[in-house]
């Protein structure tokens, strides 16, 4: 109850804010709905009917409203006052909402503006209002608000939509809706806000003033959102528009840019289309451009079209009516159309806003749907989302975008000063804000079909979530390299101004799908690869041959180098060598070089590498079964050691060590009848007791090895030794490799904190009291320096360490992980390992880890054109100087993120070039060079930069950056600086690229419209904002894990993939469209699959259809589902088969095997599951998406003011 009360207050507050804006109209009604939502969010049942909240909210709303309204006008300072003003909520506000409020400021403008903004585009707005009014009474108010709303713009999502003029219209409608949404959100937000806010408050205040509107929104994000939405639309548009626009609209072809831009434009051009467009966009942007989009989504478009501006509004209602249908076929058209209407209808407030949000609408719809009828609405939304096709919206917005709507919106909201209305608006409809799902689906639709050719410089690749084929035409495949920006600023001033990180995420040995050609192997003969004389860059397509081919000029440093006689070739009339296309190094982005002995350590060709298995046999390890499992598995696994030629035996030699307090080496020489164990108890000064017979070829020593693996579990079955060592274990492996003079990999299977007397001995330092303090960083730092030194030695020898942990308690991953993370190794952690349930996961990880392609003793160097320089590196490696990334081992899953900075100017003509060269020893012992070349454009206009960014990569970079920063700064500072940088990015965009608009609008670049939601996911991740149940080990583990993730992994890690299985079509190979990670979007009647790259959850709603349950679990009864199962029963029905296929294929995509957990709704396990619903407020205090968006907006406004 209290919560509710608070919520109400909050709402009120928001309302007040909103009120100021005047969104109230919509707001009021929505509120109720919103509340319900929120309740759902908070409560357990998303599905749960919202009504409850609604009433209470309203009242408060009204009150705050007025005050809010007041506030609105007054910027930050006023804020406080405002608060005061809105007597009711004031306090709450300050406390909780405060930060949220930030948004509120926006809201005020936004609230009103939102709709307006989107609508803003004058025309749009006009229609809007009409539409809105019609739809919802509140809408009308909303309409008025819309204008202000625009300001709020947070709407970034909206923006997409908003961008679309038509959208806007809907927006207006939407706005109201929004407001309604707002309410819903409010509920959620309130709780969230309180926490998050607290932090924000200080900041918030000022922002507040500025973003008064926001406050509103923040509080009830939705509230603000609505407003934002409107504004959002604009931003996107702007962004997208700029770049995309030009070509965009018509060009549709340019997916990346266009989508965003395009949409906007199209919308612009065709307001009506927009409406329809949005949906369309989602599906097929191209169509977006013109009418096509609409056509594509007939249904969708239809409605929107018709209504377009006004129609929208009308649509809205229709939607509602459609609502039901929606539910049924969330699918595209219906939903969308329905959606908007639906929302409207349903809880007038909620749905309507969506419409406003073009792209969003769908989502919103979904949300609405939920609100109304959980699932139905749901599904609806999704389908709708696609429709949102934000794109369409975008287009719409685009048109709008150009103008940014702001003006309109701002004035309108403020002007309108429709307190009540505003209130309503304040609530931000989650469906109105940019939806990751929508973006993903759009990208799939737009870019998934055509192969991506890398020949064009500065072309952003499809998103990591899109399946596509790559054709290497001179630049590295995005599977190898992804950049944060494909159009770099020409000079450092621009870069500094924009704050957009310039980074590349490089996965040098990334595996390719079967339909793509692996890199060719180039052999330049005895003299080795041909390189630039000065900068030593390797021969690549950027080398310009001159003087008839006798010399070449380096693309990186411009130095001219003689072409060796044996490499000479004539040039054709275009100046290209005639053999250009015969030579991979002249025509491809990625290829391998054979090297000469000069490239080898000590000028000696390397020995084949070795794998050493080091198995903990202390009491814990024996008891939890790992010893037996490992030994059993190794017997077969050894046949699958990596090899280059599948027909030949692997050259890799193997060795075995077991240990507890002492180490046991095994002599498994082929000539022995029995293995011999050699105990080394001098752990203080580790050495390898034997040479011959320790590292052996599997095929030669098979019998002895099997005998050994059979006996190890027996030998230690009765052990009573509980203490273990760890440092000496790695030293042992290292010494063995040293003795054998080869590189290699250690597989360490370890169970407990190494407390035995030995180098690297650790003590238990787990102290949760430090969490949140300035000393928190020490928990991420190793507690002794021993392992750093050891890691250095390992790297020098090319000794990579993979660590498998099976802890029952604190093992200090932060310290134990130093060596693995410095040597290019991996850490696998199986807390509370129990053989029956965890065995499969562990074994699959082990198999993959042993079998995967890996290079040893690698050195990576990134060369760049003059003007930029690789300055910082993130990943699992060691650096002894500032340029060479040394990786003792580099496997196909490892990623290195490189940050670039200007040290001079770049030219737009030549663009920026980078060449990543990795020298490594292959698993057969060959010394090779892997070369990846990448060229990106350079721009002198910031707009170009913003148009060619990739948010997923930026997030990857931010996460790695932040996760490294926790080593040296308090996590709070890290979070703040992240938010700050993000705000600067967006503010810079707003300032320089978006046309003038109301400050209340949140305008996001099309390419970055998901930045806030993803950033929020990073901010509330366990590492940066741990819940009480997150152990230090888990945090250290995740911290290290993320440091080597590629973009696809980090994407799904931060924004888990949530599939509604009830929508699974067993006949089709396609997966149902994912839903957003929010509890509101779960239907009680559904079953969902959630995966984040580490875990798979199967969430079962309490009222899931019996047939569904029967198909999946073989039992129709919810209560009979065993929550402890780790795999689904193999049932002979198409659904079960298909589902298991899906799970398998999802697992196959990830580098780590994901254990399946079945989560029953309302079961206690659900708490864990909810942790992954990242759009919701988290238990640990992480803001909900809506709240955060408002907060962002506030920050931005603060920066702009």
């Amino acid at each position: 109850m209290c919560v509710v009360g608070i919520i109400n207050y909050l709402f009120i507050y928001c309302w007040s804010c909103k009120g100021t804006r005047g969104p109230p109209t919509s707001g009021a009604p929505p509120v109720s709905g919103a509340q319900n939502y929120s309740q759902f969010g908070q409560g357990e049942n998303q599905n749960g009917p919202p009504p409850m909240g609604a009433p209470p909210q309203r009242p408060p709303v009204s009150q705050p409203y007025t005050p809010g309204a007041v506030n609105l006008p007054g910027p930050q300072h006023p804020y406080g006052q405002r608060f005061g003003a809105p007597p009711v909520s004031m306090q709450h506000m300050t406390n909780q909402m405060a930060s949220m409020q930030v948004g509120s400021t926006a809201p005020s403008p936004a609230g009103p503006g939102y709709a307006p903004p989107s609508v803003s585009q004058a025309a749009v707005s006009a229609p809007y209002t009409p539409a809105a009014p019609p739809t919802f009474p509140p809408a009308s108010t909303a309409s008025s608000q819309p204008l202000p709303t625009e300001a709020l713009a947070q709407a970034p999502p909206h923006s997409y939509y908003g961008a679309l003029p038509p959208v806007q219209q809907p927006f207006q409608n939407a706005v109201p809706t929004f407001s309604s949404a707002g309410p819903t959100q409010p509920q959620a937000p309130p709780p969230v806000s309180p926490q998050s806010f607290p932090q924000a408050p200080p900041i918030s205040q000022p922002p507040f003033s500025t973003a008064q509107v926001h406050p509103g929104p923040t509080q009830s994000y939705r509230g603000p959102l609505p407003s934002t939405q409107s504004s959002f639309p604009r931003p996107p548009h702007p962004t997208s528009q700029p770049s995309a626009f030009p070509a965009g609209p018509p060009p549709t072809s340019i997916p990346s840019q266009l989508p965003g831009v395009m949409q906007p434009q199209p919308p612009v051009s065709q307001p009506s289309p927009y409406h329809s467009g949005p949906p369309t966009t989602s599906t097929g942007f191209p169509p977006q451009v013109g009418a096509p989009p609409r056509p594509s989504f007939p249904g969708m478009q239809g409605p929107p079209m018709a209504s377009q501006g006004p129609p929208m509004a009308s649509q809205g209602p229709p939607m509602a009516s459609q609502g039901p249908p929606m539910a049924q076929a969330n699918h595209i058209l219906p939903t969308q159309p329905g959606m908007p209407p639906g929302p409207i209808n349903a809880s007038l407030s909620g749905p309507p806003p969506q419409p406003g949000m073009q792209g969003y609408p769908p989502q919103q719809n979904g949300a609405f749907g939920q609100v109304r009828g959980p699932q139905p609405g749901y599904t609806g939304p999704y389908p709708g989302q696609p429709n949102y096709g934000a794109p369409p919206a975008a287009p719409a917005s685009a048109p709008a975008a150009p103008k940014r709507l702001d003006p309109d919106s701002i004035p309108s909201p403020q002007a309108s000063d429709m307190p009540p209305v505003q209130k309503t608006r304040h609530r931000i409809d989650p469906d109105a804000i940019p939806s990751p799902i929508q973006v993903i689906e759009d990208d799939k639709a737009n870019k998934g079909s055509e192969p991506f050719t890398t020949g064009v410089r500065g072309q952003a690749p499809p998103l990591v979530t899109t399946k596509f084929q790559v054709k290497d035409q001179g630049n590295a495949s995005p599977r190898y390299i992804r950049c944060t920006a494909y159009n770099m600023p020409c000079n450092s001033d621009m870069a500094k101004q924009s704050q957009v990180p310039l980074a590349a995420v490089i996965k040098p040995l990334a595996p390719l799908p079967p339909d793509e050609t692996p890199p060719y192997l180039v052999d330049h003969g005895e003299s080795g690869p041909i390189r630039c004389n000065r900068c030593k860059a390797y021969m690549c397509p950027y080398m310009q041959f001159i003087e008839g081919g006798r010399r070449f000029q380096c693309g990186f440093c411009n130095c001219v180098t003689e072409v060796p006689p044996n490499y000479f070739q004539h040039l054709d009339h275009t100046g290209k060598r005639v053999d250009c296309y015969d030579r991979p190094e002249l025509s491809m982005g990625s290829y391998d070089f054979m090297t000469t002995v000069d490239y080898c350590k000590n000028n000696k060709f390397p020995q084949p590498p070795a794998f050493i298995f080091l198995i903990d046999v202390s009491y814990n390890a024996v008891k939890n079964g790992t010893v037996g499992i490992v030994c059993q598995e190794l017997k077969t696994l050894l046949d699958y050691l990596p090899r280059e030629n599948p027909d030949v035996e692997s050259n890799i030699r193997v060795g075995f060590v077991t240990y507890n307090k002492v180490l046991h080496f095994y002599n498994v020489k082929a000539s022995l009848a029995q293995p011999q164990m050699m105990v080394v108890s001098d752990v203080a000064d580790m050495f390898v007791p034997l040479l011959d017979g320790f590292l052996v070829s599997v095929s030669e020593s098979r019998v002895v090895i099997e005998s050994l693996l059979d006996q190890i579990p027996e030998m230690f079955a009765d052990t009573r030794e509980t203490e273990t060592v760890f440092g000496p274990v790695i030293q042992a492996g290292l010494e063995a490799l040293k003795a054998a003079d080869c590189a290699g990999k250690l597989f360490v299977f370890h169970s407990s904190l190494p407390i035995a007397e030995a180098p690297g001995k650790l003590k238990n330092r787990e102290d949760k009291k430090l969490v949140g303090t300035d000393k928190e960083k020490t928990l991420f730092q190793p507690q002794v320096s021993f392992y750093n030194t050891l890691a250095k030695e390992c790297v020098a020898q090319g000794c990579c360490v993979d660590l498998f942990l099976f802890p029952n308690q604190y093992v200090d991953v932060a310290t134990l992980g130093v060596v693995p993370t410095s040597t290019g190794g991996s850490i696998y952690k199986y807390t509370y390992f129990q053989a029956p349930s965890d065995q499969e996961r562990f074994l699959n990880d082990l198999r993959r880890d042993v079998q995967k392609q890996v290079g040893f003793d690698a050195v990576m160097r990134v060369r760049t054109s003059t003007g930029i320089r690789a300055t910082d590196f993130f990943g699992a490696f060691y650096m002894s100087n500032t340029t060479d990334v040394e990786l003792a081992g580099l496997d196909c899953d490892k990623t290195v993120t490189v940050e670039f900075r200007h040290d001079d100017k770049l030219s737009e003509e030549t663009g920026a070039l980078m060449q990543c060269a990795v020298l490594y020893t292959s698993c057969s012992g060959q010394r090779r060079l892997r070369i990846h070349n990448m060229a990106v454009n350079c721009c002198s206009q910031l707009a170009d930069l913003y148009r060619n960014c990739e948010t997923d990569t930026i997030i990857n970079f931010f996460a790695k950056y932040a996760y490294r920063s926790v080593l040296s700064s308090p996590t709070k500072n890290v979070r703040d600086s992240l938010v700050n940088q993000c705000a600067q990015i967006l503010a810079c965009y707003r300032k320089n690229c978006a046309s003038p608009s109301s400050a209340g609008q949140l305008i996001l670049p099309e390419c970055m419209k998901l930045l806030p939601v993803y950033l929020n996911c990073v901010l509330k991740s366990d590492v940066l904002q741990p819940g009480a149940d997150v152990s230090l080990d888990d945090r250290a583990y995740l911290r290290q894990l993320v440091s080597t993730m590629d973009v696809a992994e980090s994407h799904v890690f931060f924004y888990p993939h949530l599939l509604p299985l009830q929508k699974l079509d067993v006949e089709s190979m396609a997966l149902p469209m994912a839903v957003r990670d929010s509890e509101e979007r779960l239907s009680r009647g559904g079953v969902y699959l959630l995966e984040n790259g580490l875990n798979i959850f199967l969430w079962v709603g309490v009222s899931a259809q019996q047939e569904l349950l029967q198909n999946i679990f073989g039992t129709p009864a919810f209560s009979q589902i065993d929550p402890n199962m780790t795999s689904l029963p193999a049932l002979d029905n198409p659904f079960s088969k298909r589902l298991r296929e899906i799970i398998e294929s999802v697992r196959a995509q990830r580098s780590r095997y994901m254990k399946l957990m079945v989560v029953k709704q309302e079961d206690k396990l659900e708490l864990i599951f909810k942790h992954f619903l990242v759009e919701d407020k988290s238990n640990s205090g992480g803001a909900s998406y809506v709240d955060f968006l408002c907060h962002m907006h506030k920050e931005i406004r603060q920066l702009l003011s």
């Binding site: 002492v662 108890s681 050495f687």
Partner: protein
């Protein structure tokens, strides 16, 4: 006793004692003038088949600082059942068990023929013998194979209940766990890191019993230490395991680069062996048997670096103080030896290599603990194989000719004090009333520890007459010495052997002739030689020679001066150590052979006859058999050699020649059979390269310098600058009469 000769012989047979003087000068002054100190050679465990041990405890004098054992020299009052100690004159009553004592019913220890008597006593539970093999694996394949076979063979020779252990070493040291089935386990140590005994015991898991949980089933518990020790197991239990283990023993797998010696961690291996025994079986008889094929080349105790271009130290280097590792290594091994000695463990060294193996540095291990040193060229020689086999030889009772953990205590009557002992012993630093301040050999104590004994082990004991000239000993008084040796018999019994001897005092002024005639020239020679060797070990060579020259004892000294015991010329430091080692522990007969090798001559002219160890004895028609203790040389004279080459011995008509050839072989075989260690057996002929062994020993009465002898049928000239005996004697005479002497 008719003559001193007989007396001496009788005493030796009965007590294993040979005194330098059999009448003792009655005052310190007179004793000093005699030059050769009052001293004796004592063989504590001299085999006495005729002496059955008695199964009761000895009766001790009740005086706290005396504790002498009741002996035939004590005066007994049978009525009062009281006896008077002949050392301190304390009157003691007999214990209750002697109630039935009477003049006709005397216990054995009172009977004169039992001046040496052996008691079997109960002292705690019997502890099994322990044999810990420490095996170098840096050997040539052939050598290693031979060694493995010898070791496997030895398992069958060990007492079945004996505990065995195996340590192998090369670059690393492995202690093998013997009780395990399936996987062979061993603990490995690095050869370069010195570990404290505590660390070693911790690392072997000896500190906390049964912590590791990886040992097999509980063992038959002898005691806690035994139970926890997985490295030492009864032979009978692990016979098969150990045989297999030895069979699978590989050469040290670490590659030896060109121009390097293999890395051999002998120092640490020994330290681990000693540490292991120290931690598990302190004060229990144990043999650490080191089999090494080369010098320690790394870690503490290294004797030479692994660079082949740096040769191992020679006497020349040592004299030039150019032996880098010598002092450090010696110090290291001495510390080890002392630890082993304290715990009653002995260390044998079986060093088989063509080059030196660092015996100079390691000798103390055996010298102080009573262990054997055997030096050979290869493990694949009969010298090693048979010598090793002989270590486990048994006596007439079928018991091993070895004893452990001996403690020798000496008690003297008041006129005498003990100055010291020379032999395979260490001082126990027991001060007592009979300890002289004047040390000779290992002195300052009346108790010595002899960790390992054989029936041949002989110590030289030196006494000091402390009676003042003006306090004459009563006429007819006798001085007495009692040797009490407690030891662990090879059948694990604890035994005590008590030998009590007495000699008459004589006034040197009035009875000088008697004293003269009681002089035992042989014993004195050996006793003086031991002193000389003892000094040679601790002092510079020339000084010792000079000292010896001043002491002179007839012609023995001539040979002694030339012997490898004092002369290092032509011998490596290892050889010198080896010779000296044996010299200070063998009994008198063997010692004499060592000093003055025996030369037999075989010819058609008569039965074999001993001839002078002189170059004049080397004649063409003779076969010579020389026994230097360490070498057994059969030398065929020029003519004989030619005949043999011509194959006359194959012809029936020259049967006699065949017999002549066979005779020395048979005699040599006889010697070979009994001697420990096996001598180097050399069969050579005139002009043969190995003839040098003979030529270097004989008195160079004819050399290339005195050519007048050439062409005579009188022998072979020796190419040497050494003086001949004749010259030596002439010089000696001159010195003897000069006042400066």
């Amino acid at each position: 006793m008719s003559t001193y000769q007989e007396f001496i012989q009788q005493n030796e047979d009965r007590d294993g004692v040979r005194c330098s003087w059999n009448l003792w000068p009655s005052s310190r002054l007179e004793a000093t003038r005699l030059v050769v100190p009052v001293s004796c050679l004592y063989t504590p465990l001299k085999e006495r088949p005729d002496l059955p041990p008695v199964q009761y405890e000895p009766v001790l004098c009740s005086r706290a600082n005396c504790k002498a054992v009741l002996n035939p020299l004590c005066q007994v009052d049978f009525r009062a059942k009281i006896w008077a100690c002949n050392f301190c004159f304390q009157r003691n009553s007999f214990p209750p068990s002697y109630a039935g004592i009477s003049e006709v019913n005397q216990p054995a220890e009172l009977m004169p023929q039992f001046s040496t008597i052996e008691y079997i006593v109960q002292r705690g539970p019997p502890t099994p013998l322990i044999f810990l093999y420490v095996v170098d694996t840096c050997l040539e394949e052939e050598d290693l194979q031979a060694l493995k076979e010898s070791l496997q063979m030895s398992l069958s020779l060990l007492p079945p209940n004996a505990l065995v252990g195996l340590i192998t070493f090369g670059r690393m040291i492995q202690i093998h766990e013997l009780s395990c089935e399936g996987i062979a386990k061993s603990y490995v140590f690095r050869g370069t890191k010195e570990l404290t005994p505590k660390q070693i015991q911790e690392m072997l898991g000896l500190m906390k019993p049964a912590t590791s949980g990886q040992q097999g089933k509980p063992l038959a518990p002898h005691d806690a230490a035994a139970a926890s020790c997985i490295f030492l197991q009864p032979v009978q239990a692990v016979d098969m395991n150990l045989t297999d283990l030895l069979g699978e023993l590989q050469r040290d797998p670490w590659p030896v680069p060109q121009g390097k010696r293999p890395l051999r961690s002998t120092g640490i291996a020994l330290s681990i062996a000693i540490g292991l025994l120290e931690g598990t079986f302190p004060n229990t008889g144990a043999r650490v048997m080191l089999f090494t094929g080369g010098p320690p080349t790394q870690g503490p105790g290294m004797v030479v670096g692994d660079e082949l271009k740096t040769p191992i130290r020679s006497w020349h280097d040592i004299q030039k103080d150019n032996a880098r590792h010598l002092k450090k290594a010696t110090k290291y091994y001495e510390a080890l030896a002392n630890r082993a000695a304290v715990n009653g463990h002995s260390v044998d060294i079986y060093a088989c290599a063509l080059d030196q193996t660092g015996l100079l540095e390691m000798k103390c291990l055996s010298n102080l603990t009573g262990g054997h040193i055997v030096m050979g060229d290869s493990f694949n020689t009969s010298l090693f194989k048979q010598t090793f086999q002989r270590v486990f030889s048994k006596d007439y009772n079928g018991e091993f000719r070895m004893a452990f953990g001996g403690t020798l205590e000496v008690k003297t009557s008041r006129e005498l004090k003990i100055s010291g002992a020379i032999g395979p012993c260490v001082s126990l630093n027991t001060k007592g009333p009979c300890v002289s301040d004047n040390e000779m050999g290992v002195g300052g104590t009346c108790q010595w520890k002899i960790c390992s004994l054989t029936p041949a082990t002989t110590l030289a004991m030196y006494f000091e007459v402390v009676n003042q000239h003006n306090a004459p000993v009563p006429q007819g008084g006798r001085g007495a010495v009692q040797f009490v040796t407690q030891y662990q018999h090879s059948n694990t019994q604890r035994r005590i052997r008590v030998t009590t001897i007495a000699r008459n005092w004589a006034d040197a002024q009035s009875q000088i002739q008697h004293i003269e005639s009681s002089f035992d020239q042989e014993a004195s020679a050996v006793l003086m030689a031991r002193l000389g060797v003892f000094r040679a070990e601790s002092e510079e060579g020339p000084d010792v020679l000079r000292w010896l020259d001043r002491q002179l004892i007839r012609l023995f000294m001539f040979h002694l001066r030339r012997s490898p015991f004092l002369q290092v010329f032509n011998n490596s430091p290892d050889e010198s150590s080896y010779y000296r080692h044996h010299f200070v522990r063998q009994d008198l007969t063997q010692s004499l052979i060592m000093i003055q090798p025996i030369l037999y001559s075989y010819s058609f002219y008569g039965p074999p006859e001993p001839v002078l160890l002189d170059s004049s004895s080397i004649l063409p028609d003779r076969i010579l058999l020389m026994d230097t203790f360490f070498q057994l040389v059969i030398y065929h004279g020029e003519t004989i050699a030619q005949w043999r080459k011509a194959g006359y011995q194959e012809m029936a008509e020259y049967e006699n020649f065949k017999q002549l050839l066979q005779a020395p072989l048979d005699d040599a075989q006889e010697i070979l059979q009994t001697r420990f260690p096996m001598p180097r057996y050399i069969d050579t002929e005139h002009g043969g390269s190995q003839a040098r062994f003979l030529l270097s020993k004989v008195n160079p009465s004819q050399t290339h310098n005195n050519l007048y002898a050439w062409g005579q049928e009188s022998g072979a000239p020796i190419l040497t600058d050494d003086v001949s005996l004749q010259v030596f004697m002439d010089h000696l005479k001159k010195l003897a009469v000069s006042s400066a002497a």
